[in-house]
Structure formats: structure tokens, C-alpha cells
Amino acid sequence: MTPGAAHGGTTQDSSERGAAANPAAAVKENELPAHAHGHAPTVSDPEQRVLDRIDRARRRRPRVREERITMSHGSGGKASQTLIEAVFLEAFRNPLLEPLDDAARMDVGASRLAFTTDSFVVSPLFFPGGNIGDLAVNGTVNDLSVAGATPLYLSAGFILEEGLPVADLTKIVSTMRAAAEQAAVHVITGDTKVVERGKADGCYINTAGVGVIEHDTTLGVAQARPGDAIIVSGPIGDHGVTIMLARGELDIEADVTSDTAALNGLVAGLLSAVHGVHAMRDATRGGVATILNEIARAADVGVVVAEKDIPVRAEVRGAAELLGIDPMYVACEGRLVAVVDNAAADAALTAIRAHPLGAQAGIIGYVTDGPAGIVQLKTAFGGTRIVDLLVGDPLPRIC
């Protein structure tokens, strides 16, 4: 009898602590049939058959079953993904589109470029920490940065509602200019349309962005490998909660502001300091949980994160508890998730923390070799649960 067994939890606990620092231990935990603890796995054969059936069902070809578009299709979760794969990817399919990363990468002449597009439909237009304008510039810059590109040029198309105060538009545009200066990019082309009162909620903005890839790295979530460290650059959920509260329908007051920011400086610092960054993602709609699932799916690996290592501000946690939502699914607008080779993890963390926007960065977990496609969370309490893709839409229209 091993000393741990008599106390029930102890063996498990030390292996869980081990899992945080050594992904190999986490991998072992899930191996069957023989493993360190010496007792048989507790999932019966019939249950396992069902779990296998479910796994196969989840890998089936996506199909949109609804007749009409619902708000879920815009939440960044399962429905969004299904829509993208079943409708857009189906129609436009080509090798450059298929990775479905934040930006597409293509070779033009002797240069390797990144190209992205985004639309911004946030309501309200102005909120603590920013407005639709800096969301638009920062969001586009970030999509290019996490693709490993130096952002260069943006387009800005505006759909304006009849009746929008020109002063509001001027304010939005001057914010965009400031954000562009800050990020060292230029808006070089644009478009304007006006629609009747009642449409466009004041103002919608569509952007496209182009950047040049200078580092010789292959970045993409499919590059994640077991053992890789997963780093988040700062506290999560600030933006989404700010928007929910700014809508004013919930009578909740809190000192939360949007975290909208351009991450190109931080990314440049990371990529020049460290080799071994396998992927980076901009944590927007759907939150960190969505990115973790994208990693697990694209690379066919497991992901294990620890609840206690995920940074969340107290007010964001409080608001989320009050509303019954999970900060892991709440949008950020100035945070990235980086997947980094185990050997480079500490150096990467140091490089990110060196930048003001990354001061509170931390390693939240690791890529493991199974069960594939599943994201597990070690709760602060010591148990384990799955973090699946979002179903439904708790936060409509936040970016």
C-alpha cells in the first residue's frame, strides 16, 4: 500500500501539483489501464463506449441545422464555428483559407504577407476604456500581430446610421487616428455608406489589414505539441464585462474598463527574444476557452489548464458570478494566448512580462497528448472538469 492511498486525495493532489509544472505527469494521469495509482480506472465499459460514440459524433462534418441566423452564430462558440465551416469554408475553400487563423498568410513576390478582416458592431459605441474606433484599429492590428506579421496598412469602411451625431463620428475617427499612431500603422483606404434610421445601431465599422511577416516561423494552432506551455498575457474578461455593464440594463456599477490595446509591440518583443513560439491567438469573442478548444481541435491534442493560474480581476469575477457567466468565455480585446515550446516557456514569459501590457502574464497550463480535442480544467478546488466550446450567446454584440 502506498502511503498516499490511505488519505484518498493525497496521491492525486501531488500528481496534480506535478501536472502544473510537468506536463508529463498530466499525460500519465489519463493513461489506461496500468498507471501510478494502482487501482483500476473508474469509467465502466458501457460508459466508455458512450464517450467514444460522442467523440465520433463531435468529429462529424459540420452542418447548419437552423433555418435562420440566430445570435448564437455570432457568439464565437460552437454555432459560429459550424456556420463558418459549413457555409463559408464550404463555398470558398482554398488552401489559404483553410487554416482559419486570425489572419491569412500568403506569398506575394518575394514577401510573405498577412491579411485579415474584421467587423465591429459593438453596442454601446462608447464605453469605459474606449470606443468602437480603437476596438477597430487595435483588433485588426492584433489579428496581424498574432500571425507573426508587422502590421502596416488598414482599410476602414463605415456604415453609418441616419441620425448619428457627426460629433460622435468625429470622436470615433480621432480615436482611430490616435490608436493607429500608437500602433505605427496607417489607414490608407476606406468607404462610407449611410443606412436608414433604425439600422446599423449608430455605426458599424469593417476593417481589413495587411502586414509583412519578417520572422521565419510557422505559426498556427495546429503547431501545438504536447509539452507546450500556454501563456495568457493578462487578466481575462475585462472587455466583455465592461460592455455588458455599459449597456446599462443590469443596474450594476463596477470599476471595470475595456482592455482594448494594440499588442504588436508585445508580440515583436516576444518573437525577437524567443524561438519556439508555436502559436498566438488574440482572445476576443468566445474568450480564452474558445482559443483553448481551437488549439485542442486543430492540433488534435489535449489541453490542461489550472483555474488558480488564470488571472481574473476581482471585479470581473464578481460581476461574472452575479450574472452566472464564466470569465473564460468572456471577450478580451487586448490579450493574447501564446503556445510556446516547453523549453522556451520561461524566456517567453519574461519577454511578455517585460512589456507593460503583459505585466500580469502567466502560464495557465500545458498541451498534453490526450484525450485529444478536449480541454480540461483543474479547478481551484482540486477536481477536474471539461471546458467545452460555448453554446448559446451570453454576451451579444460586444465587439
Binding site: 484518498g8 493532489d13 460514440r53 454555432a79 477536474t384
Partner: protein, 378 residues
């Protein structure tokens, strides 16, 4: 967060887990039911089953007020929402519950004015701000939520608001527990009693379970340590051959409940002679309707509600899952035809439903704590 974080301390959990394991009689299997959907959610969200020995099975009960709403009532609600000048307001939990022609979500996409609210008071606010519209509040929930609906009706009456009404689907917990106890399919050893329902009804209503059926009941809080401590208290009773009602959640639950809340319910609502529960069939005196003297706030009287009974889809086994007879994964369509994205039944839709909880959180190979007896043998 105060009164929350202290009850999520992992180290104390190990101590409790050891105690629980030590109380297991060798060779005996234990089935404990947690009645309340909120408990089901906590158990899966924190991975609590990892702390329990193999011989203890947690059976998930029918205390999920969304899960027990029959499809016909959802159809009725959508019918209400589709009436001219109606704004339907509802808790978020209801938005994806399937009726026979789709859920609120689908109706909303087709243009019906259905809005999510966090409180019935928000619904009243919408009524005040839209005097030319008729605002209906879809009232769901057990006795935990009924007082809030009641207070809102009283407020509407006091303010003379004439464009607000309630489509009342409140249900009561005791008849559901009794249906479980009388069900021949199930042999339970004890109950983890609902925490927040008990803040309203108190602990006395559960006494018949201990006295007449000989099963211990422990009213439990919602943090992981609350639930573990409650399981410990149940196991202790079982080991000592006692069966009484105990209150683990004494910091929130008063033994006599909330008299003001019960009065508000009594003033504005009355028990229906019977009500259909999805999966459990018709149960007498198990649900509330708006009282006659508040008829001006009763959507069922103000509007013509079709009231059609809709049979559950043949494949759906929600009833057996709600009674705890089937585990979620034992349902034939679990995870394949019925998923959180494409739910057939309510157990999969509600965040508190056993199937949703298991699918979203628990779908893993588990490692459980070994029993002390087994451990000492090795």
C-alpha cells in the same frame, strides 16, 4: 469573494474526503440524490466526484425548474410572445428550451420580441417604459424564485401598472421529491437537500422523508465544501443508523424559512390542482398559478393560451434522467442526437440539467478516491 472562497479550499476537501471514505461499509453501495439543479452544476463544475469513493454514487434529481417544463408550455409561451404588441421577457435559461416548433431563440430570430432579463423587476421596468406594449414575464423556478415573482406582482399592483402580466410556471419541490420516493425504480440512501429553496420553505417540510421513509436529509450549501460536508453528514447518519433532517447551510437557511416570502406567495398565488411535469407526468398540487384577486396580472387569463399537450419526442429519456433512474450517458441519444447545441430534451438545455452538466463538464475518465477499506487491504 467572501463566504465563497473559504468554502472552496481544496485542503479541507481532502480531510472530508478521507472521512467520507472511512465511513463506507465494505461491500456496500450508496446512492445519494442531490435534488437541486444548482448542486448538480456545482458538483460537475468543481469536479467534486473526484473526491468521492467508488461506492458512493450521486444521483441527479429533478430540481431543475427549466428541465421539468413540458414542451406544450414552451409552445404556449411562444404563442403569447407572438401576440400583437407583446414583449415577452424571460430568464436566460429558457432561451434555448425546445418547444415543438423551436425555442425562444428561434422565435426571436424570426422577429418575435423576446428579451432576456435577470430579474422580474427588470420585466416590470420594461413595462413602465413601454406603456403601449403588453409585457409578459415567463415565471419559472421553485420556491426559491416564486417570492420574487410574487413581490413583483405586488409592486405592479401597488403602482397601478396595467400592462404587465406573469405566465406562471412556478413548481414546488416537495411533490417532486415524493414522486421520487414513491418511484419503484429507485433505491436511494439519502438526500442532499436543496439549499436555496429551503431559505424560503425552511427545513421542516423535509421531515416526512426522514420520519416516514427513513432516509436522512442534509440541507446543503452550494460551494464544494458545503456539498462535501453534507455528504459527510449523510454518511455519518447512515453509519449511525439515524435518519433526521440536518441543516449544513445554517449560515443562509433559517430552520423556519422566510415568513415574509411565504406570505407574498400566499397572497398572490395558489396551488394548481395538478400540473404536468416533463418526464414525471401529472403531479397534484405541485405548481402555482396567479390568484383570482390578481387576475389582472395573470397572462393565462389575459390572453388565449392554447394549452395543447405535446408529447416528448420518442427518443427523449429526460423523464428517467430526472428521476435519477438513468445516468445521462445511459440515455440512448446522449451526446449523439442530443447535445447542448442540438438538444432534444431539457436535461441537455439547462445549465443545471444533469445531461448538460455531464456533457459540458464531466465527460472524462474519472479518478476516484479509493475506499478506506479497500485501501487498507492493499
Amino acid at each position: 469573494m467572501r463566504f465563497v472562497d473559504e468554502f472552496r479550499d481544496a485542503e479541507k476537501a481532502h480531510a472530508l474526503a478521507a472521512r467520507i471514505a472511512a465511513l463506507c461499509e465494505p461491500g456496500r453501495q450508496y446512492k445519494l440524490m442531490e435534488v437541486c439543479g444548482g448542486h448538480t452544476h456545482t458538483i460537475y463544475k468543481h469536479g467534486l466526484e473526484d473526491y468521492l469513493p467508488e461506492s458512493i454514487t450521486l444521483v441527479h434529481g429533478p430540481g431543475c425548474p427549466v428541465c421539468v417544463i413540458p414542451m406544450g408550455r414552451v409552445d404556449d409561451a411562444i404563442h403569447l410572445a407572438s401576440q400583437p404588441d407583446v414583449i415577452m421577457t424571460s430568464f436566460g435559461d429558457m432561451m434555448r428550451v425546445p418547444g415543438s416548433k423551436g425555442a425562444f431563440f428561434d422565435a426571436k430570430a424570426a422577429g418575435t420580441d423576446i428579451r432576456m432579463v435577470y430579474s422580474p423587476l427588470d420585466s416590470l421596468k420594461i413595462a413602465r417604459r413601454n406603456p403601449d406594449k403588453r409585457v409578459v414575464f415567463m415565471a419559472i423556478g421553485f420556491e426559491t424564485t416564486a417570492p420574487s415573482t410574487a413581490m413583483t406582482i405586488l409592486r405592479a399592483a401597488a403602482e397601478g401598472i396595467d400592462n404587465f402580466s406573469v405566465f406562471c410556471n412556478h413548481v414546488t419541490i416537495i411533490p417532486a421529491i415524493k414522486a421520487i420516493l414513491d418511484s419503484p425504480d429507485l433505491r436511494l440512501d439519502g438526500f442532499i437537500g436543496p439549499g436555496h429553496v429551503s431559505t424560503v420553505i425552511g427545513c421542516r417540510p423535509y421531515e416526512f422523508i426522514a420520519r416516514d421513509y427513513g432516509k436522512p436529509v442534509v440541507v446543503a450549501g452550494f460551494e464544494p465544501l458545503d456539498i462535501l460536508q453534507s455528504i459527510y453528514m449523510l454518511m455519518l447518519q447512515l453509519a449511525q443508523r439515524r435518519s433526521v433532517v440536518e441543516n449544513q447551510y445554517a449560515r443562509v437557511v433559517p430552520w423556519d424559512g422566510n415568513v415574509v416570502a411565504l406570505k407574498a406567495i400566499g397572497e398572490t398565488m395558489a396551488l394548481r390542482p395538478y400540473f404536468e411535469w416533463r418526464g414525471l407526468g401529472f403531479i397534484s398540487h405541485s405548481a402555482l398559478r396567479v390568484r383570482e384577486n390578481y387576475a389582472a396580472f395573470d397572462a393565462e387569463l389575459l390572453f388565449n393560451v392554447p394549452g395543447v399537450q405535446v408529447a416528448d419526442p420518442k427518443a427523449c429519456q429526460c423523464g428517467e434522467v430526472l428521476k435519477g433512474v438513468l445516468k445521462p450517458w445511459e440515455c440512448k441519444v446522449f451526446g449523439t442526437a442530443c447535445t447542448p447545441e442540438t438538444p432534444i430534451g431539457t436535461c441537455m438545455v439547462s445549465p443545471e440539467g444533469a445531461c448538460a452538466a455531464y456533457y459540458n463538464y464531466g465527460r472524462l475518465r474519472r479518478q476516484r478516491v479509493p475506499e478506506a477499506a479497500e485501501a487498507s487491504r492493499s
